[in-house]
């Protein structure tokens, strides 16, 4: 209710500001019996970590995960999993210049207005640092999904106006994390890299789009009416800092199509007309793997739009707490483009939603 939890049966609740000792969270509802791979969680955190290349913020955070409960002899016990990540790089002095100024397109003013107070250091609770906790939750959710043969893969599909034009099926998604942009089309990745670096030198920032593909999901995930799978995915994605849009399947482009073009006709696969793998298939997948809010067994794919990072190294006009008009210039270590670090966050949020619906779907039939 107060915004720090997501999920029903598989639920994560988080806490933490960027300039305190630690951030952390609790995962409640993780099924018992999962052999938890801690190294994998750490690897996932590394994908989000600052300081990995020239085109992301140069802050250094170790982001070491400490699991405090819910795991015994390496296996989940079904009880709540508490974890903390220490903040090792809190340079509070970096923020003295914005103590009483509202940074444009940041949450300073809205937090102050809502709560009557705020931790101004590094954005406090509104800092993107909280997404590290999402990655921990997502890394555990991914391990549950792995058990059921479900995979979540995101990549940077657009930076500024540079786009990946190939269909995702023509890309080798296993190469996404081999470059610092997190784009599996090497040629486009290079263009993106240069664009971001250029923007960085200007002291400016740029936006982009992350695409995400979920493969191996069974039919039946998603609830009718309000808790549709795509509705929960949309909420999860729009809950990420700087995201401004979500589209699934044909999305905004599909609106110009006719029904006769857009409809996904069904067909049978002779090897899957009976037995445990029985299902039907669609010739096209404009639906993006969901029909009536429920997964149909095809790939689930969607895009998430991210605006340019709000902190820029240029002078801007703003207002201070005394309601005086003042200038402000960004300082410190910031990302010129959030996209490279956002892919793993998109994957994490998607994985959290998928596990929640996977568990819900167990309660559907007598």
């Amino acid at each position: 209710m107060a915004g720090n939890s997501i999920g029903n049966l598989f639920k994560i609740t988080t806490f933490g500001e960027s300039h305190r000792e630690a951030i952390g969270g609790i995962i409640d509802g993780c099924p018992a019996g999962l052999k938890l791979d801690l190294a994998f969680i750490q690897e996932e955190l590394a994908k989000r970590k600052p300081g990995q290349s020239k085109i992301v913020t140069q802050r250094k955070e170790d982001d070491l995960i400490e699991i405090l409960s819910g795991v015994f002899e390496g296996v989940t016990t079904g009880t709540s999993i508490g974890f903390v990540i220490k903040n090792t790089n809190q340079k509070s002095q970096d923020y003295s210049h914005i103590k009483d100024k509202y940074r444009p397109s940041h949450a300073d003013y809205t937090y102050q207005s809502k709560y009557g107070t705020r931790d101004y250091r590094g954005g406090g609770r509104s800092s993107a640092r909280e997404t590290a906790c999402r990655v921990v939750g997502g890394a555990i959710a991914k391990q549950v999904l792995l058990h059921y043969g479900i995979y979540v893969n995101a990549y940077v599909a657009q930076v500024g106006d540079i786009k990946v034009t190939k269909h995702y099926s023509a890309l080798d998604l296993s190469t996404t994390y081999t470059n610092s942009v997190r784009c599996p089309d090497k040629t486009v990745a290079d263009l993106m890299y240069n664009r971001i670096d250029e923007i960085r030198k200007e002291g400016d920032t740029i936006g982009g789009v992350v695409s995400c593909i979920i493969t191996g999901a069974p039919t039946g995930l998603g609830e009718p009416v309000f808790d549709r799978l795509e509705a929960d995915l949309a909420k999860a994605m729009l809950s990420i800092n700087a995201s401004k849009g979500f589209e699934i399947g044909s999305g905004f482009d599909g609106v110009a199509q006719k029904g006769s073009e857009h409809n996904d006709e069904f067909f049978c696969h002779p090897e899957h007309v009976e037995g445990p793998t029985k299902r039907i298939y669609t010739k096209t997948n404009n639906s993006g793997g969901v029909q009536g809010g429920i997964s149909n067994g095809e790939d689930i794919y969607f895009n998430v739009a991210f605006k340019p990072v709000a902190t820029i190294m240029q002078k801007q006009q703003t207002v201070n707490e005394q309601l005086q008009e003042v200038d402000i210039t960004g300082r410190g270590r910031h990302d010129p483009c959030v996209l490279p670090r956002a892919t793993v966050i998109v994957e994490s949020m998607a994985a959290l939603v998928m596990v929640d619906h996977l568990l819900k779907n167990r309660t559907t039939q007598l």
Copy 2:
């Protein structure tokens, strides 16, 4: 959890299939003391009602609302408001031809797969008829918002590739419902009307985009991290039948911008630097009225993408319950374009989200 409720403090739960006696719902958490305007609810339902013009389905439903509780002497009592809407036009025979066939891009297969059974008549629970209950909830929510000077206005911004190009501030939104397309730009409305009518004659369907503007919202609505205002709006919009995308503020177009272009600089208005109307303003509004997940007092505006209606009057290939490949051709009375009837549904879902957050925000400070 099972999908038939939305909202926390102001919550609607619905029930009903298109081919039973009635549909209905319960609104829980409506504040006491609201003088409920029943005629307004009925007018809102009329905006969604089928059979209003040549370009929508010719089904006839009276859609008469019966409020069964929660109102005493015309005023809400704070207890749950139960309501029903009788189904007066159930032509079950229309659906015998699809009894055991999975209609492409409909929910037939996913419901059957999830539940092991389904009411095939008119799509059962997946029928867009359930949206009438959302309109009832929305019409009550709008009356709460009206009390606080908050207004929600949606309009059809695109049909196929025909778009409204004017900024919403250049449109007279009070004229939206004066034409059957629900587009406040009369010239564009005419083009849209002709396009839909053309598509209808082809036995085909077409998609489009609804834009929605919320004015008068105070600062402070929305919760940090997961329950951001835009996240809850995104969920609400993606929960509507046939919707495939959501974008707020600059949305997908904003990703190509630089931070220096996109950032909304703050300024003061000399008449609002102290007293009860004290607030600050932004020069631009690429944020779409939310920053850090919380409303900043500017207009909240967003777009929703709708795919073309799945039922077409043309022959398509599909599969039946026996997993045989068969042909199917749409029959009955269907919409060639969902957009004209979708505007009030978008407004309703937006209003429900806004009231929920309005109430939540009362609990924020000591």
Copy 3:
């Protein structure tokens, strides 16, 4: 949140006042595939119905259930089940004398104070009439439980100071509903009947205790820490009108015992040490079937205390809305003792809790 829903995965939301057209509710999360026995629901409602004997209120309500959705060809579809029960016996004139007076130990004053308004007719939302909806939910829940061999049986264990002294295992619980008191000990039932009738003639009322036994529950129901099975049962029972206490297993009497007396030692049953019926047993059952908040396979049993009905046919002192001290005397048709009609309500609430936990427990292991 606003109080008209209970349950998470199997959830009921209700509406309705005693002096409007109808009451009703929505059950969300009922598993698909249940062949629903409508006659059984009607029979359950009959157990709660007024006017069945001299010792309960002489109001006449038909309490005919109408299921409006969620069932197709007699089988649940997994979607929300809406239902209404018409109010056929609204004598609003009976209540004019209490229009502006706060009846002692009723909810008149607290509702007025909380909401600033209230439907004074028959207690409005606070009327025990709402419990009919609980019985509908319970009757559906019982059918789910029946599928898994779980049975819920309640009976009147005490009226005033007349108590059933036999252990429940010495009673034939199938005879509970054969007498109007709903007590399976015929001798005690007669004493109770006479006591209630005596009280009725005095224009007074009397309280009592309902005992409830759940048999056939598997191990594993209940969640650790806050959502213990007994915690959810306690909440469900204290949510019933006029209930003032709950105790499980040894309850309040057990506090005087030593651990060495109270502990339930385990043993094995040679026929259940392996295979699907493998489990262990306890020699005694002071725990009441739950340990650490989770069912252990033994009978679950608990007691619920009900205070005497607040409406009495005697003169009492009170205060009116103008805050003047005034006299009040009960009129109309009221129960001298709520116990005979409460047994089926206790069973219903217990059944709702059990199904909710049965479904939750499906999500516990990988």
Copy 4:
């Protein structure tokens, strides 16, 4: 849903086992602007801490609270409050003898049965150590209540068959924590102390009753139908380890009364018939401060029954994981009676419920 959270608007989620590095939790929804008194939280924890006297367990835990977020410059910011308490006294070797044995009336068997695994050390998640996190949440909730002049006071009212016979109004509740039994009737406290010490020497344990009184609560707290104030209190109390019963107001004793005796007649206080303190009063308070599920401004009082502690220093029969019947004898450091340490836990749970309802009640009227 998975049991580790309680509350809606003011919600606590906890984690932790007794034999890991730390336990902790997250409080979400604490209003911003509360000057948080950390020393008070530590004092509250001290009331629950083991090792304080001869009649409680001799384990030594420092129970130092570390607040990791949600507080800035000593004041709550409205964002989630994360906290941890290190476990400094984990003697895992103490539990090797019970590694594969199910301790009678403990949660060993039910956890193993539910989850297929368990952390057997110190009871794992079922350990009463988790109640330290409840005390932290309660200590913060009490500070919110203090701001509104609401006080929660519990005391030991019964140990074995030794009872406090005085009405709570005849006791000085400020003296409760001046003795190790936590009973404000000094004479009875001495009797209780001796009884517990006697039991301790026998290697046995004993149960008892905690009474709790909430003063200063305004009218209007509690929601109708299912979320009655007493229902939420009952759930909160039955969620505490070893609790077996709850009664409010007249409770189980009240069932033998007549309505004419039990009803709480209203009267006016001449100083409170208008203005901000306007309210009406009851001559008696058999209702226990709630009518129709909503507080009426009178004292709220209730009792909670606790069974004798399950761990005894005597030989008992049980079963091991291999389903063989074996003997077991308690070892280590355990409480002969849970009551002295339970009072602050009862207070904490009551405070959590009260704040949650206090916030909910802000959303009731337009």
